[in-house]
């Protein structure tokens, strides 16, 4: 896959957006005429989008519209029934399991249900991406402490995941997603269980990462969060409606 030349804002007849203006940008994740069917019905249809480096997106849509499916397609947990998903210029279908693992080290993922290893303390769970990639935890200790402090969990470092509240789990999941300083952060309702103050803090973390050049895609219902983000960063809002991906209106 090569560059796209000068990116344009919208090519409606192809349902295709290059969401960040710039010169000769490549997509970190690209969906090309993607469809996904589940249980006999089509959940997503003809979805095309390029997520360029450093872009910030929100993904909205009614419950069951396919937001989580969209995110899963982006990191290879699901493969499209039609079309092509490319991550870092490589077709997901062509990745073997090892290559898929290496690709995921470049993608920070925050699941809606925040899965953890329940037998490990919170700090070890947050450091898990470092552990599995063979990084020296002794050297990363300071970063881990700082990150836990940033998400307000420094006093819960030794707690086991089942002992955490929903909000604490979400903050821990976000910390785990960003600890490897990934190129892309995909978050599914990352502020769903936290109060306004904490959601602003988490948003701040994502905005800071975005300013460092990270690509961010957040699936959320929280319109206030989107408005708050748009005051800080150039964010695009996408909406899934009737199985298709659309650019949301300016009212957001």
């Amino acid at each position: 896959m090569g560059g796209y030349g000068n990116a344009c804002w919208r090519i409606p007849w192809q349902n295709l957006w290059a969401v960040t203006p710039g010169d000769e940008v490549l997509a970190v994740i690209e969906l090309d005429q993607v469809a996904y069917s589940y249980g006999g019905g089509e959940l997503l249809s003809d979805v095309s989008i390029r997520l360029t480096p450093g872009s910030f997106h929100f993904l909205t849509g009614p419950s069951g519209a396919g937001k989580t499916t969209f995110l899963k397609l982006c990191y290879g947990a699901l493969l499209p029934t039609a079309g092509q998903v490319r991550a870092f210029e490589t077709d997901m279908r062509g990745l073997d399991r090892d290559q898929m693992a290496l690709m995921r080290r470049r993608v920070g993922i925050v699941h809606q249900d925040c899965r953890f290893l329940d037998h490990l303390p919170l700090a070890d769970n947050v450091a898990l991406p470092l552990t599995v990639s063979g990084r020296d935890l002794a050297q990363e200790g300071a970063n881990l402490t700082e990150l836990l402090s940033w998400v307000g969990l420094s006093n819960r470092a030794d707690a086991r995941p089942p002992e955490l509240s929903g909000g604490e789990r979400q903050r821990a999941a976000l910390a785990r997603a960003v600890i490897m300083s990934p190129d892309v952060i995909l978050a599914d309702e990352p502020t769903g269980n936290v109060d306004w103050e904490m959601s602003q803090r988490l948003l701040q973390l994502l905005v800071e990462l975005n300013k460092m050049g990270k690509t961010v895609l957040i699936a959320t219902h929280d319109l206030a969060l989107i408005r708050a983000a748009k005051s800080q960063v150039q964010a695009r809002v996408l909406r899934i409606s009737n199985r298709r991906l659309q650019l949301a209106g300016a009212d957001l």
Binding site: A101, R104, L117, D124
Partner: protein, 293 residues
């Protein structure tokens, strides 16, 4: 090497599981215990087959059945013939005590041999090369009419065959034990992998390679199998040590056990147990991870 040295961080990502851990330990312990006895049986049978083949091939028995008043004369005549026969290293008549000892298992120790019409036995030891048994028989028939030469060929072969069959049986048993152990550890590993599918999902989500995930399980099962097999081998060796020591009275059964350097063989059992566990778990992990992808 990584399997032996380990990775303390990687080891912790798999939760310590209950029943699969106990099943692996118990299965490897029991199988190692049985393997010790199968190995002892196999080695003892091998020794017996070798000894019987060696001893019986080199010896023969001359039996003299004659009236009591001619017994001494015929014995002397037979010994004279044997001394003159090329290929015979030595020949000697068994004493009355030796003949009594031979009959003791059937008649008891206080046998009055002189009251029974027991033939005189002469032990013949073959030289290398051996003697012409057909020629010796003809000469004995002419000079010692009551003499019968038994070169043991009639029952040597079935005995050696039986011992060798026992040895084969021992090795087959060891293979079957290894197979059963592999099957049990495979089941335990599959159960552990299935119980930890959520752990596998999380590990994949954060970028763990399948080899990393598999290694965490393989290492755990291999260590458990090694420890279980070491304990089982220890108990098995204790059992062998407590067996009665080898004696002529006990026959074959008391010869079960290890002799000399053969005591080192059981050391291999925990190592082989660990190897079986490693292969079984690696195969189970590979299948499960492929299925879950």
């Amino acid at each position: 090497m990584k399997l032996i040295v380990g990775d303390t961080q990687a080891d912790r990502v798999v939760p310590p599981t209950g029943f699969t851990a106990r099943l692996t330990l118990f299965a490897s312990c029991a199988m190692a215990f049985l393997t010790v006895f199968a190995l002892a049986l196999s080695l003892a049978s091998g020794r017996l087959a070798h000894r019987w083949a060696e001893e019986l091939a080199r010896s023969a028995t001359l039996r003299i059945a004659a009236p009591a008043d001619q017994m001494a004369a015929q014995t002397e005549a037979a010994l004279a013939v044997l001394r003159q026969t090329p290929g015979i290293a030595s020949a000697r008549a068994l004493t009355a005590d030796e003949q009594t000892a031979l009959l003791a298992p059937w008649f008891g120790p206080d046998l009055a041999l002189d009251q029974l019409p027991v033939p005189q036995l002469i032990e013949v030891i073959e030289a290398d090369p051996g003697y012409d048994s057909q020629g010796l028989r003809l000469r004995l028939a002419a000079e010692v009419p009551g003499a019968t030469l038994d070169d043991h060929t009639r029952w040597r072969k079935p005995l050696v065959d039986a011992a060798q069959s026992l040895r084969r049986l021992g090795w087959v048993s060891i293979l079957l034990i290894g197979g059963a152990m592999a099957a049990m550890i495979t089941l335990a590993a599959q159960a552990a992998l299935a119980a930890n599918h959520q752990v596998i999902e999380v590990l994949r989500l954060v970028g763990a390679r399948d080899s990393y995930i598999a290694m965490a399980f393989v290492r755990r099962f291999t260590i458990r199998a090694f420890l279980g097999a070491a304990v089982g081998t220890g108990f098995g060796l204790l059992g062998v040590l407590l067996l009665p020591s080898a004696s002529d009275e006990g026959g074959v059964l008391t010869g079960l056990g290890f002799q000399g350097a053969a005591w080192l063989w059981p050391i291999l059992i925990p190592v082989l147990g660990a190897l079986v566990a490693l292969l079984a778990t690696a195969a189970a992990a590979g299948r499960t991870l492929r299925r879950l992808s």
